[in-house]
């Protein structure tokens, strides 16, 4: 198999941008250490490319032409679009994997109508994960977007189908590929409710993820998610797609709701990559 790593992590801009405002410094540093272990695990997997399944925030896709799914096939990308002083990540050029991503896109298209893009400006939703997982920006990246922001949103069961398609495509190429899904669980980012976290909802979601309970993961309605988990909760699509790609349960390596200045509970998890059974 060529999917060598699958995991999830949080990506909120405060994780880097507001690091200096954190009061619970010990917990923050535990989180950073968990992210660094994730980097080490990806490096140890021998991954030749990192696919980031993200929920981008109107950096490339707007309601004039919003794809349910998009995959980057460019030679290079740039980011962040945000003011580097605000995000505390310098502007950088990030290498793509054009040949590999085109082959993946062609295979994914057999079952899911994924859009593709040769240009992509990364926002914090990808730059924060890369800042921790490939801090020198020297690992080729394949960006993926799932529409978690502009309703009508990508249905959860389609996010699952997309993850399965990614897995099938990854297994058909010789390169070793790591996949991470990145999003919040419950959160109300960039609103007056920023910092609100529904910890019980988050733990219940992670329990479903841990058990690889497909039916339970796909049972949320958008109305329920908005009510209980805020509009940031829509980003569970990225975790669901990563779970489907892995095909197995996950180990939650880090979780805390004690860093509300980051406007999200902070999560790091790794999936067991199960043999394909289709």
């Amino acid at each position: 198999m060529s999917l060598v790593y699958a995991g999830v992590l949080s990506h909120a801009p405060g994780i880097t941008g507001r690091a200096g405002l954190v009061k619970n410094v010990e917990k923050r540093d535990e989180f950073y250490a968990a992210l660094d272990r994730q980097r080490q695990e990806i490096e140890a997997s021998g991954a030749q490319a990192l696919m980031v399944m993200a929920a981008e925030h109107f950096a490339n896709f707007f309601m004039n032409n919003m794809p349910a799914f998009c995959i980057g096939i460019g030679e290079k990308y740039s980011g962040p679009i945000e003011d580097p002083a605000w995000l505390k990540i310098d502007k950088a050029e990030v290498p793509g994997a054009p040949d590999l991503s085109r082959r993946l896109a062609q295979d994914i298209l057999q079952t899911v109508d994924v859009a593709y893009a040769e240009e992509w400006k990364f926002d914090h939703g990808i730059m924060v994960p890369l800042h921790f997982l490939t801090p020198k920006f020297d690992l080729p990246v394949i960006p993926v977007n799932i529409n978690c922001q502009g309703p009508p949103l990508t249905p959860l069961h389609r996010a699952w189908a997309f993850g399965e398609a990614v897995r099938r495509a990854a297994d058909a190429v010789p390169e070793k590929i790591a996949v991470v899904g990145t999003g919040g669980i419950s959160h109300w980012p960039a609103t007056p409710d920023s910092g609100k976290i529904n910890e019980a909802w988050d733990r219940d979601f992670l329990d479903r993820l841990t058990r690889f309970d497909k039916d339970a993961l796909l049972s949320y309605s958008d109305e329920e998610t908005y009510r209980d988990a805020g509009q940031g909760g829509f980003e569970i699509r990225t975790y669901i797609a990563a779970a489907a790609a892995a095909g197995g349960p996950c180990d939650v390596q880090f979780f805390t709701s004690e860093l509300p200045i980051f406007a999200v509970s902070c999560t790091v998890a790794r999936f067991e990559i199960s043999p394909r059974n289709q």
Binding site: F58, F62, P260
Partner: protein
């Protein structure tokens, strides 16, 4: 209601340095290209974060505009709360069900803005 174009302007401003330079130089000239209500246009010209939030601008777009204007994080949150207090609940968009919000960050409950 032209929330779509209001957000589209901010989307293009947020991601394009040429638009940012043009807007700093002559905001009116840039805004002429968008179908905006007088209230929306005024909110943009005045950098009125609170009103823009009430008009329904998605926070993932508004947050970047606030950073562009040099507004500190806790001031940004307070401006949205003040907007709801002054103009009433969010009128459109994804936050139409969201209220004025409380402070959930202990770091933000002090007057120390962490500067």
């Amino acid at each position: 209601m032209s929330l779509y174009y209001l957000q589209k302007f901010l989307y293009e401003l947020n991601r394009d340095e040429d638009t940012q330079a043009a807007f700093r130089k002559d905001p009116g000239d840039v805004l002429d290209k968008y179908e905006l209500t007088p209230e929306e246009r005024r909110a943009l010209e005045e950098g009125d974060i609170g009103l823009l939030y009430v008009l329904g601008v998605n926070g993932q777009i508004l947050m970047h505009y606030a950073a562009f204007l040099g507004i500190e994080w806790f001031d940004y949150l307070e401006k949205m709360r003040a907007g709801v207090s002054m103009h009433g609940p969010v009128r459109a968009g994804i936050y139409a069900m969201t209220g004025g919000g409380d402070s959930f960050t202990p770091e933000g409950t002090t007057k120390d803005k962490g500067k």
